[in-house]
C-alpha cells in the first residue's frame, strides 16, 4: 500500500503545491489596472474549477460504470469524488468572493458566472439530499447514479454555455483582461499549469482517502453484525 509505485503521485502533488504557494506569492506578476496583485488568485481560484470539473467527471464515469455493472465499489467512488468536487466548488466560490471583494467592491456581485457556479453546487447538494432520502442501499446507488449523470448533463450549459452568452465582469470575458493566449504572461503559465495539476492531484488524493475510510467503516459494520 505504501510502496513507491503508489506514492510518487502524492509526492508530486505535495511538491507542485509547495511550488505553487511559494511561486504564486513571490514571483513577478504583470501589473494590470484594477486587478493588480489580486491576479495571484489565478493560481488558487481558477484551479479549483479545473479540479471541480475533473472530480465531477470522474464521479460521472463511475456512475456510468455502476449502471453498466452494479458493484458497490463503483458507487462508493462516485459518491466520494462528488463529495470532494463539491468541496472544491465551494472553495472556488469562496476564493472568488475574496477576490471580488477587492476588485468589484462586493463579495457577491450577481455576476452570471457567480450565479452559474452557485446553481451548479446546488445540483450536487440535491444529489446528496436524494441519497439521504432513499433507504434501500441498492436503489439508492442506482437512482443517485442516474441523477448524477442527468445533473452533469444539466450542469454543462450552466457552466460552459450560458455565461459565455451574457456580458460578464469576470476576467476573460467582456473585454476584461484574463485567461487567454495574449494576456497570460508566460511567467504566469510556469506557475499556473503546475498549480492546476497539483490541485487536481490533491483532490484525487483526498477522494481516495475518503473511499478507504468508507470501506474500512463498512468492514467494521460487517464484523459487528457477525458478532
Amino acid at each position: 500500500m505504501f510502496g513507491a509505485r503508489k506514492f510518487w503521485w502524492k509526492l508530486t502533488a505535495v511538491l507542485l503545491l509547495a511550488y505553487t504557494v511559494i511561486g504564486g506569492l513571490l514571483f513577478q506578476v504583470p501589473r494590470l489596472s484594477i486587478v493588480n496583485e489580486t491576479i495571484r488568485a489565478l493560481y488558487f481560484h481558477v484551479p479549483m474549477w479545473f479540479g471541480m470539473v475533473f472530480l465531477f467527471s470522474v464521479s460521472l464515469v463511475y456512475s456510468i460504470r455502476y449502471l453498466r455493472n452494479p458493484l458497490k465499489g463503483n458507487d462508493t467512488i462516485a459518491v466520494e469524488f462528488a463529495n470532494t468536487g463539491l468541496a472544491y466548488g465551494l472553495l472556488g466560490i469562496f476564493t472568488g468572493m475574496i477576490w471580488a471583494n477587492y476588485t468589484w467592491g462586493t463579495p457577491w456581485h450577481g455576476d452570471p458566472k457567480q450565479n452559474g457556479a452557485a446553481i451548479a453546487t446546488l445540483v450536487y447538494l440535491a444529489y446528496f439530499v436524494l441519497r439521504g432520502s432513499l433507504s434501500n442501499e441498492e436503489q439508492k446507488a442506482r437512482i443517485s447514479a442516474v441523477y448524477n449523470i442527468f445533473a452533469f448533463a444539466a450542469m454543462i450549459p450552466l457552466i460552459f454555455i450560458i455565461p459565455r452568452m451574457t456580458s460578464s465582469m469576470h476576467p476573460g470575458s467582456g473585454g476584461n483582461p484574463g485567461f487567454n493566449m495574449y494576456d497570460l504572461d508566460s511567467k504566469m503559465r510556469m506557475v499556473f499549469y503546475p498549480a492546476v495539476i497539483g490541485w487536481i492531484l490533491l483532490g484525487v488524493w483526498i477522494a481516495t482517502l475518503r473511499i478507504r475510510i468508507r470501506n474500512v467503516e463498512e468492514k467494521i459494520l460487517d464484523l459487528e453484525d457477525n458478532v
Binding site: 449502471l67 446553481i119 451548479a120 446546488l122 445540483v123 440535491a126 439530499v129 436524494l130 432520502s133 432513499l134 433507504s135 441498492e138 436503489q139 442506482r142 437512482i143 447514479a145 442516474v146 441523477y147 449523470i149 442527468f150 445533473a151 448533463a153 444539466a154 454543462i156 450549459p157 450552466l158 454555455i161 450560458i162 452568452m165 451574457t166
Partner: protein, 218 residues
C-alpha cells in the same frame, strides 16, 4: 405501443377531471393573485416584472402537473405496465403527453395574463416558439425527475429540490427570449437563445430516454 400509452394518458386524464380542473384553478388563482397585487398600480407592471411573474407562474404550475405523472401512479398499475410495455415506450409516451399538457397550460397562462395584466409582448410568434421549446424542455427533464422522486419517501419535497437546478438553465434562456420579445427585437436577437434552448432540449430528452430504463427496473 407509444400511441396506445399516449391515448391511455389522455383517457385517464379525462376520466379524472378533478386533477385537470385542479391544475387550471391553480393557474387561475396564481394569475389572479398577481392581478390583485398590482390591480391599481398598473405602472408597476413593467415588462420585466410581467415576464418574471409569467415564468414563475408557468414553472410552478408545470412542476405540479408533471410531478404527478409518476408520483400519482398506484403500485399495482406500475407492475402491470412493467409486464406489458418496455421502458423506452413508457418514457416517450409520458414525455409526449406532458409536453402537450405543459403547452396547453402555458398558453392558457398566457391568455389569463393577457386578460388580467395586459400583454407587453411585441413579437407573439417568437414568444410562442419559445413557449413551445420551454414546454418540451420542462416535459423531458421533469418527467425523469418525477420518476426519480417517486422512488423516495418524501417525494413532493424532493421533486422541487431536484428539479430547480436542472430546469433553471432552460428558464434563464426563456426569460432572456421573452425580454427580447418585449423589446420587439425580432429574430436576429433571439436566434442564439432559441438554438441553445433547442440544443438543451435534445440533450435532456436523450438523457431521459437513455436513463429511464435503469429507474424503471427497480
Amino acid at each position: 405501443m407509444i400511441l396506445t400509452l399516449f391515448q391511455k394518458e389522455f383517457t385517464l386524464e379525462l376520466r379524472q377531471k378533478s386533477v385537470a380542473s385542479g391544475l387550471v384553478i391553480y393557474l387561475f388563482s396564481t394569475a389572479f393573485i398577481c392581478y390583485l397585487t398590482f390591480r391599481l398600480r398598473e405602472n408597476l407592471v413593467t415588462p420585466l416584472v410581467w415576464a418574471a411573474l409569467f415564468w414563475i407562474t408557468i414553472l410552478f404550475t408545470v412542476i405540479n402537473s408533471i410531478a404527478k405523472s409518476f408520483i400519482g401512479e398506484r403500485r399495482g398499475r406500475e407492475i402491470y405496465y412493467y409486464s406489458i410495455a418496455n421502458p423506452a415506450d413508457i418514457i416517450l409516451s409520458k414525455i409526449a403527453y406532458n409536453f402537450v399538457l405543459a403547452t396547453v397550460l402555458s398558453f392558457s397562462g398566457l391568455l389569463l395574463f393577457y386578460v388580467f395584466l395586459g400583454m407587453p409582448i411585441e413579437d407573439v410568434s417568437i414568444f410562442s416558439l419559445s413557449i413551445l421549446l420551454t414546454s418540451l424542455g420542462f416535459a423531458a427533464s421533469l418527467t425523469l425527475l418525477s420518476s426519480i422522486s417517486s422512488k423516495a419517501n418524501n417525494s413532493s419535497i424532493l421533486m422541487a429540490v431536484l428539479s430547480f437546478p436542472v430546469v433553471i438553465s432552460i428558464l434563464l434562456l426563456a426569460i432572456k427570449v421573452s425580454k427580447n420579445c418585449i423589446d420587439g427585437l425580432g429574430w436576429d436577437a433571439s436566434w442564439d437563445e432559441l438554438l441553445t434552448l433547442a440544443a438543451i432540449n435534445c440533450l435532456v430528452s436523450a438523457m431521459s430516454y437513455l436513463l429511464f430504463p435503469y429507474i424503471w427496473r427497480s
